[in-house]
Subunit: 463 residues, 2 copies
């Protein structure tokens, strides 16, 4: 366990010297607001919250923390799902919320340079008039810095990639306050070690991202959607594999398990029934192409025994269908009043997706937990939402989550497809990567953050 110092009056005085009075707070209210993300992990208070407004201030804060051995936990929007920004050892919460501007839009290059505190939805709202969007869609209005730190992904990753695939350059402040530039605005780069991707997904444990140049995609001229229901998960996944092999490059390929489809059909204005369901989105350059694509999707789904099949290019219908999916968690909260939630996030090679879903169902049934599963089927990514209202159920949910994680790893997959390691997944790192890999991770951490001040206790399991 690292030895940290408390935030002394001397440290506060030094922080005050590099920040303005409105950029630093030790009030209980401000610390409480940065004590917990959207996960089930217990809140922890930092000792002081700071809101720098530029990279030099971030560097100044880190220099002070480095000198005094004070933990620093970066904070984006607090929308993470694995306790990633919870300040386990107190110290300084470094909020990037006031660094939330677009620095430069390079429309012809399909690029934008932004500050890390900018919200994902806010960014896309500003990009809309230019016919461009930042494709990785984490659902929530996550901060761009948080998305980069966690390598967030979502329903459109099957076509457009995860956050790591959509970043070209970053400015990163290192633990000792040095400011690093990595990557470039060239989409092709083979010029030395790829440090960009070392910092992406490092959850603020190797450096603080203070600026990023992102790849953008053109907003599609024609968007259409389809829903297909299947007899079982196996045939649904067989359809997914064949659709991917067709070269259609489907923009979203989402899975909803039978129980959740049933629940949504009862609660919302959809008629998917109690069946494994695929939701799909197509982005096309012409209306005729969209029609051809939808016909091929229908043919493929029917060949795999799809029951209901509905395709639409109507914007209102599309929106209804996707809103049902995107607001699913709100629906679940309404149904399971007063419950808290354990959210699982694992991913496997698509061929193993049926085996994973089957295992998860058995695990949930054995523990008398509801089956509420959705996934990004195109990527083999499965989420399970497990409600609990008492300690025994919480422990059961926890154990079910662990069993599913171990099974995903055993199937050649990963403990976390898009939520990151945070607090909850550190214990699986050796199982997933092996001893040598975790040793090297620890060595890299020591190299870049010798005093272990950056978001300590995350990612790397304690030895």
């Amino acid at each position: 366990m690292p030895h940290f110092n408390p935030v002394s009056n001397e440290v506060l005085a030094q922080l005050t010297a590099v920040l303005t009075p409105d950029q630093i707070s030790t009030t209980e209210a401000d610390r409480q607001q940065h004590a917990q993300d959207m996960s089930q992990h217990a809140p922890r208070l930092s000792e002081v919250v700071v809101w720098p407004t530029n990279s030099q201030q971030v560097a100044d804060v880190l220099q002070i923390a480095h000198r005094h051995r004070i933990p620093v936990t970066p904070w984006g929007a607090g929308s993470s799902l694995e306790g990633n920004p919870i300040p386990l050892f107190g110290g300084i919460t470094l909020s990037l919320a006031r660094m939330n501007q677009i620095v430069a839009l390079h429309a012809d290059d399909f690029q934008v340079t932004v500050q890390p505190g900018l919200g994902y939805k806010d960014l896309n709202q500003q990009l809309g008039p230019h016919g461009l969007f930042f494709a990785p869609d984490p659902g929530a209005n996550a901060s761009i810095g948080g998305m980069l730190a966690n390598n967030a992904a979502g329903s459109r990753t099957v076509k457009y990639g995860a956050t790591k695939d959509n970043v070209l350059a970053m400015e990163v402040v290192l633990a000792d306050g040095r400011i690093l530039q990595t990557g470039s605005r060239s989409v092709k780069q083979s010029a030395g070690y790829d440090m960009l991707h070392l910092f992406v997904g490092s959850e603020g444990t190797l450096g603080v991202i203070t600026q990023a140049t992102l790849r953008l995609a053109p907003v599609s001229a024609i968007m259409s959607s389809a829903v297909a229901t299947f007899a079982d998960v196996e045939t649904a996944v067989a359809a997914v594999v064949e659709l991917r092999a067709s070269g259609l490059d489907i923009a979203a390929l989402e899975f909803i398990d039978a129980a959740t489809s049933g629940l949504l059909s009862r609660e919302e204005d959809v008629d998917w029934g109690e069946n494994p369901t695929l939701l799909m989105e197509i982005h096309a350059a012409h209306a005729e192409t969209a029609e051809l694509d939808l016909a091929l999707i229908q043919e493929t789904c029917r060949a795999h025994g799809a029951g209901r099949f509905v395709a639409t290019t109507d914007a209102a219908e599309r929106q209804k269908m996707w809103q049902t999916r995107h607001h699913m968690f709100e629906t679940l909260r309404r149904v399971f009043v007063g419950h808290r939630w354990q959210l699982a996030d694992v991913a496997v090679p698509i061929s193993q997706f049926p085996a994973l879903v089957k295992f998860a169902r058995q695990t949930l049934q054995e523990r008398n937990l509801p089956e509420l599963m959705v996934g990004h089927a195109g990527d083999g990514n499965l989420h399970i939402a497990i409600p609990y209202a008492d300690e025994a159920t919480r422990q059961g949910a926890n154990l079910a989550n662990e069993e599913v994680v171990l099974q995903a790893i055993a199937l050649g997959g990963t403990a976390t497809g898009e939520h990151g390691v945070g607090i909850g997944k550190a214990k699986f790192m050796v199982r997933e990567h092996g001893e040598t890999a975790v040793e090297i991770m620890r060595h890299l951490k020591q190299t870049l953050d010798p005093h272990d001040i950056l978001n300590p206790g995350k990612i790397i399991p304690q030895p």
Copy 2:
């Protein structure tokens, strides 16, 4: 400069103990065969060549080298273009040529696990019957290990990404002989530090890749091509930007400058004239979509003043057009008999491509060098082939290359889009990345290879 030991009789005896007699050679002929890649860099002889056939043998060789402070330079196919596998300090050449098998094909997952010595073209030949291919196309029959080590790319990168975008997991032997597993078969991964991409593009200086799981793409049902000639580079690039904004997701978007188009029109069976030319390829799921796409491409090119425009779905015509492009270098060799070649490889944001081409033309004209430029326009990647037959021209070619590199960096780009740093580009690393980034690269190298035995003298400039 690191202090290395020679390959002594004791070291040879130790190597002989872990290898079979046919796996080790100190003959002049074998060492000469591994002294030089396809670049203009001077050959250097290693002291011994070894051909391990499995990961444990690679680990054994590295343990011996680590203990005795002997340089080890990995060797794939020798097709690199920046001196990347030239053994600058002698020592051991570690050829992966005999580790050239497909380990496992996961067709439903669109993945294949291979050994590093397998040739790119050989892999795709074996994948063909399964309707799959490995998309990054470096032109030559490079080894997969070499492509990973250099983060190779090519004409289809605009749609399918570079090598770094198409690898999911690797086995890497570290400098001290430890065997590391990194990544997983899950296409989504947010589970700790991305060490996979730290080793990709590290040119064998951080570890030796002994196995890799690659992402594959389905072979497209319909492939079609188009050629368009333009009045100038500016309008050609304006068409490129508009085509990318259309959402067509063009599979190849190649640029050939006026002089090279003229030369090819004289020498080969094409009629592009002395005009900046775009070559395009479309991969579609339906014939009707291909027609629609080609119509939109034609409309866009015409709107930007395209002169000749030819589109075709005929396989023979397509092949002729692409062979002219792919065999361009052979054509150049025929025209410039007895010349050697300096090959430039830089990349910039696409908006800066016209400025880069303009600068390159001026530089070449000022030095009385021929203008022979081609590029992956969709990625802003430019290549210049400069022939020389005497020392004065060689020096001029070298200086022209340096000026173009510095200009590419000044335009927000990179010293190398796809050939890697090797010997020739190390001196530009500080200019491109800054002092801090190069310090960190050096620090990472020390962490992973404390005795600097792995491919020494590459990537990182001497302090």
